[in-house]
Symmetry: C4
Subunit: 306 residues, 4 copies
């Protein structure tokens, strides 16, 4: 930090951006605040037996019932637009909550239908799930999303191609970079591409906060003040690096009172960093798309025989 | 926080309470301090083999032997009444400890018989357990409780109806809200209802503190200072939101010396917040009952076929 | 804390000691610093396959090779005597380390032979293990210990009687109290008794520090500063309560450089508390034995039939 | 710490070094900063099914794609040379990244071929893997490494002999000491020997930071500030003890922005300690080799029959 409160690189040593990448004029880094509106779907897809447990179902309903209004109020106070990834089934179950998000001007994006992992899923089913999610967002919200985030960030090697052929501009799933990039959907020359907005487990609210015995978490629930400090360090370090701070929250997790309070403090901190662009995923993807970057090709590793 | 040490909402932006809800005149939020007096029952019900392990049994007996007197002394120092959820079997095993709680003027409420989870339990057994718990509290203490908390906060979809038809005023189990509310025990029109006093895993002492190798916890035992800071943040944030801070402690866990010391500090903090009502669960439930709120209906989700 | 740096009870409200218990004149509380010298035995008994893993074996040997000399030096600097619980097999494998402990004037006590858990062990085997541990301490060190600590603090209902009939004065295993007490070894009238010096998982160095992948720990390794703060809070709170602070360390765990440094700071803190008696387990047990306390009887619970 | 900011032993009580060991004139302790460049290999060897998961593969590729350049820049800013342990397969997959490390003047050392654990591996296969790693480092980098670190720090009792007969000067795997030492590869008189540079789980970045659901970690991700504090305490304590601070980082873990920032702060702290030698593993091993120390013999324990 400089004496003016602005993050500064050590010894004024500015790192080079990836080849071909640049931010808009006057911008040196970006932050996007995203919300995965999983509600009951996150538990029902991975642990279908929890449909019998009123306690688990009610725990998940804190999101649309109590947290979404609080989060919309805080985003309004801060004057920013965020990106909400909504599973189609959640939009169908909670249409008023979903519409309140849309009507507040936030971006709506795709997050599966019942929050299904695509690991081990056959291609036809994966595409069917994607379409059903699109249909639900269209029916309930009249929205055609440009962005896709895989439930659990689980991906197979076909997923990017499926997403690209349904016309998405961007995905937000991979952990190999600090900057947005163009991702080739396969290794063959001339393969289609998507803009990728990288994420990371350390910029997710689920791990430090969430706990349901036997379902998720170990019971070590961190203090919001500790999480704020960790996220602030990464925000400031990525500002120095000129990268993208892409934070993933879940309303049922971070919409609780003291967690929402520190989330608001984090947004305030981001807004105070000179040259940091706070934007939706789609705005950042649209900018990146315009740069005509050479695509990054992720090839499937070949395991060596010994 | 304002300069006067009182929690304040950002920019004076007061959130609306749920429709129809209000606190008594002059009150803006509430806190209730509750103790689940599990003693040996919490281990014997989930892990019956531990009846053979003197070490585990003695660990649980710290509650009635050593912690309950300490907690009663600290509540007396702070001049507050708390709510003690006592499994019937525990009252039978530790009648002197149970009577000391009653005689100090605290509320006694229901917490199963041997701390049984009702997940997967048939309806007749569940009702039998509830009745046996009632009989034990009556026999040992001469008390007819108005409140019910399910062991482990485990619930099935029938539990609220069973609790309501035995005349309870309130239950304290669900995690979908920050305010007390009226819960319909089923989706049919005219269903009976209960007052629900919501809880949360982050306001429970078991996860940050408790450890028995192979039985519970990972061995990450947090410092009381860390837990105090986390709970204080949520207390202050819920005061701003006008909600209910409902803290769950266990004598064998939080009755240890340094943990009891920070619990007392937390109560002092609550008492210093202007307009915060520190009350028993029954007092808060009785107030809420008088508001004639429209009941919240929790419907069992229908899992989609793909 | 008072302004003089001495722990003080809230509002001068001194808790009563257990009936019949008192500390020596001028003493208000006590602390004992204990070391379980497990070395390889802790892994070999629970995970015999690790005998094939040089890495695990060497990890455990840090204790006698590197840590014991460091710990002896720090105890000497602080001028205190501690209690070392040494499994017989460890004394046989590391006679020089064991003798250096004895020769520095510390108490040697019993900790099994190969650090065996007595859960599920038949009575004859349990007694055989106890005798073999005694023989090893006699052969290597010429010591007849007065104290017994069960490996893992695992106990069955017969253990106290076995320990008592081999002439031990005290055991240090149970978690039901903050003060030393007399423990009846069984429920029958006139049963023999032992002095019990209670322990607790929160006053053990294994959980915050120790990690061996797949064998123990989750990989969350706490900072010594965090552990110091937690232990200091309990030390000060137990000083207020007039209890016994009984800390369990393992040389291979807490003998590492920065952990030993904070252990020394903790001992310094204990020595600075007015009226706190820093003593060996045997000294505290001998004092307690002289009080002629009524024995505490731990009965095996009867599980209810429903 | 002294008032000059230099770590000092309590009461000027300097511990003796191990028999025969000393640092170069003017040096009182040493620090080496090491990087295990695991990339995809760490997951593919232990969890081969993850080859199907683009998300896991991309997570690991953060190392060579994004982190290695950042780490090279920070080492250059600090003006130090580090040691990079690179599995042969990783060098083959990421030759440009591997060459950039070599070309920056850092030490390249051996870390298996596909990051294979040698537990349970037969001797012929273990030797084959070692050779294949050597061949890859030769082919891609033209390097013959002098140092060996076992993947996961897993060792069997034959490993040191295999490593020694392939001409390595040192290994860096064991956790039994704070100083470099000479390790006999077997118990027989006249056995060959290696220099061992001891490590420890508490000086590894994987545990506090790394998380891949179902593969590694519990989701408790510590703040870089907490990790910095813990490592700094051990650095300062080992400086007092005259030992070796041997830190293990992984580019895909600690190369993330805020973690790299605190790593740089830690290096700065090390450089500010008077008399602390910051060196590569090979430099420290070469110094130790010249001391002609008596070898430490690790014998396989004999499990007692009861």
């Amino acid at each position: 930090m400089t004496r003016s409160g602005q993050p500064a690189s050590p010894q004024g040593d500015e790192p080079p951006p990836p080849p071909g990448f640049r931010w808009p004029d006057g911008i040196r880094a970006a932050a996007t605040f995203t919300f995965d509106v999983d509600a009951e779907a996150a538990m029902l897809s991975d642990h279908p037996r929890t449909v019998d447990h009123l306690d688990v179902v009610a725990h998940q309903r804190y999101g649309p019932r109590t947290a979404v209004p609080r989060i919309l109020r805080l985003l309004d106070r801060r004057g920013i637009r965020a990106t909400f990834f909504i599973p189609g089934w959640v939009a169908e179950q909670w249409p008023a909550a979903a519409r309140s998000i849309r009507d507040a001007g936030h971006e709506i994006a795709h997050h599966g239908y019942l929050h299904e992992s695509v690991r081990g899923m056959d291609e036809a089913t994966e595409e069917q799930v994607l379409v059903r999610g699109l249909e639900a967002l269209d029916t309930v919200l009249g929205v055609r999303p440009t962005g896709y985030r895989a439930p659990n960030w689980d991906l197979n090697w076909r997923t990017p191609a499926i997403v690209a052929r349904h016309g998405f501009r961007y995905a937000s799933n991979l952990m190999d970079a600090d900057h947005p990039y163009r991702l080739a959907v396969g290794p063959e020359p001339g393969a289609a591409s998507l803009i990728e907005l990288p994420v990371h487990w350390a910029l997710d609210d689920w791990e430090p906060y969430n706990y349901l015995p036997g379902l998720t978490g170990t019971g070590v629930i961190l203090s919001p003040s500790v999480v704020l400090e960790r996220w602030t360090l990464e925000l400031e370090a990525l500002a120095v690096e000129g990268g993208l701070f892409n934070l993933t929250n879940h309303p049922f997790v971070s919409g609780r009172a003291s967690r929402a309070a520190v989330l608001e403090q984090l947004i305030e901190r981001a807004q105070a960093i000179h040259g940091l662009w706070v934007a939706t995923c789609d705005e950042i993807a649209a900018w990146t798309e315009g740069l005509d970057l050479a695509p990054v090709v992720h090839e499937r590793p070949s395991l060596p025989a010994l």
